[in-house]
């Protein structure tokens, strides 16, 4: 059975702790750029937690929204890459072949979610972070675009393991770094082609929405949120 990987983000559960952000940095060898670079918009994050405030003082309401690559089925980033660095994998992921990237940055401009990170300089890791690089993930160099891969290294190793043991992948056998580290279980990763997986169940919830779904990018990330009207109905 072919897989279609998806992620569910339960906004009603997210506390905005940013553990997912840290876990993603550690898993995927994402460099930290430092204060000065971050201040001018060079932050490198494959997942970020957006904060929005609703209402005025003294009763503001804060909402957190983790935003990562939506792994769109109709991805605006893929068509525009002249060198096939961003391409669609057979399992429906938005792949990014670092070695093919020449750094036109067209994909990042075309992405409505602004989830792509560009290596403006060669990456550096402050000591002792340089000692914890993940050997399963390639380190990117200057001039290259990168973004969330749904932890493709974990997907691949689980698939290879299952194939070696001549069995199907089980739901929950592995997960992405962000979902693994989410204390409130706001992030759930799995196979959308498996109707019994937790991610399939959650994705068909009545609370499910897509981020900028109206653009027709067909994201594979689903957001769960109790709408304002539901709040009103339930008092």
């Amino acid at each position: 059975m072919s897989h279609k990987w998806g992620l569910v983000v339960d906004l009603d559960r997210c506390t905005g702790c940013e553990a997912c952000v840290v876990a993603c940095h550690a898993e995927n060898n994402i460099p930290t750029v430092g204060k000065d670079q971050a201040a001018i918009g060079r932050t490198m994050q494959w997942i970020r937690v957006e904060r929005t405030w609703e209402g005025d003082f003294p009763n503001p309401k804060v909402r957190f929204q983790p935003v990562l690559c939506q792994q769109c089925d109709a991805a605006p980033c893929e068509a525009v890459c002249p060198t096939y660095a961003s391409y669609h994998t057979e399992e429906g992921l938005n792949g990014q072949a670092y070695n093919r990237c020449i750094g036109t940055r067209f994909c990042a401009n075309a992405c409505p979610y602004t989830v792509r990170s560009f290596n403006f300089y060669n990456p550096q890791w402050q000591k002792p972070l340089n000692l914890q690089l993940n050997p399963d993930v390639s380190v990117r160099s200057v001039g290259i675009m990168e973004k969330c891969t749904f932890c493709v290294q974990r997907i691949k190793s689980a698939e290879i393991q299952a194939e070696a043991e001549k069995r199907d992948l089980k739901d929950g056998e592995f997960t992405t770094a962000c979902a693994q580290s989410c204390a409130s279980k706001a992030l759930v990763f799995g196979d959308l082609n498996d109707p019994h997986s937790e991610v399939s169940r959650l994705a068909s919830s009545s609370r499910a929405t897509k981020l900028l779904g109206e653009l027709g990018t067909k994201p594979n990330v689903t957001y769960l949120e109790r709408g304002a009207w539901q709040d009103a109905n339930n008092g």
Binding site: Q37, I40, G41, R42, T43, R48, E50, R51, T52, V67, P76, A79, V80, C81, P82, T83, Y84, R100, C101, I102, G103, T104, R105, F106, A108, N109, A110, P112, Y113, T114, R116, S117, F118, N119, F120, Y121, N122, V142, G143, I144, M145, L212, L215, T217
Partner: protein, 461 residues
Amino acid sequence: MQITAEQIEKDLLRPIFKTGRKYLVAVGLATSLVLAGMAAFGYQVYTGIGVWGINSPVFWAFDITNFVFWIGISHAGTLISAILRLTNATWRRPVTRCAEAITVFSLLIGGLIPLCHIGRPWLGYWMIPYPSQRGIWPNFRSPLEWDFFAIATYLIGSTTFLYLPAIPDFAAVRDAAKGLRKRIYSILSLGWQGTPRQWQRLEIAMHIMAIAIVPVAVSVHTIVSWDFAMTLIPMWHTTIFGPYFVVGAIFSGVAALILAMALLRRFLHLEEYLKPLHFNNLGKLLLTMSLLWFYCIFAEFLTTWYGNTPSEMAVFWENVRHNFAPLFWTMVVCNFVIPVPILAMKKLRTVTGTAIASCTIVIGMWIERFLIIVPALDHKFLPYSWGTYRPTLVEDILMASTFGFMTLLYLSFTKFVPMISVWEMKVGLQPRGGGILTTEAPGEKRHGLVLEGPLPTDVEE
């Protein structure tokens, strides 16, 4: 005063054989700008493109602004020259060469910019489809790939278009020169003898090129606009971009042409050739383009405002009222408010008048390119990721160097080719059958030459 063929040849070939002090100073200045640009580019490659002001979400800024600007300028030459040739507008004769040269050089510069702007410039050749060990073709769905082909086609086409009518002039230089220069021009003139057969073939070739180059020119800037219009980004994703870019390109191109002509007239002393008539006629064209440009931007912004989509309105207000408002209104003043009255009034449509209008238009059109790119990028859909942009010194130097490069190429060109087509001027000289033609320089044998239009027409109003 009637100019003679001898006089034409003497006047127009003079810059090739004589070099003044002012010329050397200008070349020196332009060269130093180019060198500064090369140093800045070297620094950028060595350190990383982070030395630019681009960031997330403004991944394109000065680089692509300059790219679109220069590709736009390139529409001055070939397109106008081709249309004037096809419509037999005989006043074009002294204009075409300087126009076509602008096209070729600004295309060279415009085409170079994407190569310098990518994160790994040393891999730029991966845009070229060639069988390689990587076993992968470029992505033909990418508008950048379309750009590559469009610009390459236009460059080849406009170089040919510049070269063809220059052949008889190369022959004229060959006959006037000695030594190494004679050898070089012998090669360049491809054995031109000025036989009727050669004239006929040249005319046919030029006619074919003039017809072929028009759709190519239109398609090039349409495709450049599709770099933006093919994305989903608010204020980029619009159908008007194709025609709007073509209009803007011709607009800025004609302005650049008038500026170049005014400078050539002044410094090469071509007052007898580039007459107020030419500035008057091109000024009328510029006026039309200014009105068309205003129509396009009005249609674009009105539609956006009336539709009132929040994501588009964010960019709209950025332009009209917020961060970029000073630039936006400067652009409107430069492209419309100043030039239209100047160009509309016959009294002001002089050499100086059109040159001033062209000056503001070139500035205004550069700002226009910038405003198309940056405000849309820094106000994409999700407000959390909104950003802003500030150019760095490296980007400023690179931009200045593109102007230096253009100047250098243009100045060098005046040393190799007569900036006004000698033989075409002679064709327009006197009534059929000719009497004033005394010397028989090659490229001037008039029998068998297919003359276009009534002659003579280079009369002042």
